[in-house]
Point group: C2
Chain length 159, copies 2
DNA sequence: GTGCGTGCAAAGACTTTGCACGTAC
DNA sequence: GTACGTGCAAAGTCTTTGCACGCAC
């Protein structure tokens, strides 16, 4: 089936939204250093933009916004950096349509649930703590260790 | 953001696993007729194979298995039929990695939860009724009508 | 100095589409 | 008989990769 993990839903950070004591750039820097990689201006700018977007984004959007701000970064670098950020557990790939990959900042945040309005196209990230409990229970019952969750609800206005 | 619905998680059938009174081919036939489309041998064969697979599958797998059984169907027709089956609410696209789309039979079945073993690559569909309740509650609170759910848990053996 | 990083363009993987011929109703 | 369906191959889209040059450590 060729199901390569693709770091599907990292959750490396602490499990609450509050307890971040370290800026994300430091987290990224450390992760890079651990792999013998460098914290370059391009990587810093990309992470910075992701923090400013603070929500769902796509590779293309990210690239556009970087260019709008006058940064010169190539598409290749954006994709390569996104992959590094995923591996560092800072962002997560959120696959909900087949068109392209979407990503979101997850480090230091509780796993969220995406409420996708199929009529308007809006996507809202909501917090549903019970889901994490259910996930943990399911894993515990099977001797597994959870490494991430993806919960998406598709809905329209009540007609 | 270009979030075209892509019939993300249809749930057209009844909400339990038991109450199917009509064969799937009849459901498909009716859906096609409703759109002025035809129930061709290729479409019948593809649906039949999906029923026999009875679990997750991909376009490629489906094509291979059809060919193994001696059916001559083109890749284009497989993709086109998959889209029709999605629209008919018979199958659902399950996006959990970026490599390719996976699908599963959903008509007449309760929404399931996919437990993805990232170490072994196994994917198991499990039934977690509470999730449906949570989904319904979330939607009710917001005046929305649920049209589908995607719940995926990524886990490894407890180390 | 070495090795990692970047940009560009080309390549890749999956999926969709155009076209001419065939077939269901 | 008409309109939809199919197969083939070409085109598309997002993403990855090869290569030469550049910069960080």
């Amino acid at each position: 089936m060729d199901l390569r993990p693709v770091s599907p839903a990292n959750e490396t950070g602490p499990d609450a939204d509050i307890e971040i004591t370290e800026p994300l750039c430091a987290v990224f820097r450390r992760a890079l250093k651990g792999e013998g990689l460098k914290y370059t201006p391009e990587r810093a700018q990309i992470l910075d933009m992701i923090i400013r977007i603070d929500g769902l984004f796509e590779a293309e959007t990210l690239l556009d916004r970087l260019k709008d701000d006058g940064f010169r970064v190539s598409k290749a670098t954006v994709y390569r950096t996104i992959k590094l950020l995923e591996e560092a557990g800072i962002i997560q790939r959120v696959v909900f349509d087949r068109e392209q990959s979407h990503y979101q900042l997850v480090y230091g945040r509780r796993p969220n649930t995406l409420l996708v309005r199929t009529d308007t196209g809006d996507v809202e990230a909501i917090d549903v703590p019970e889901l994490v409990e259910i996930r943990d229970r399911i894993c515990r019952e099977r001797g597994l260790e959870p490494h991430g969750t993806r919960f998406q609800i598709f809905a329209t206005a009540r007609g």
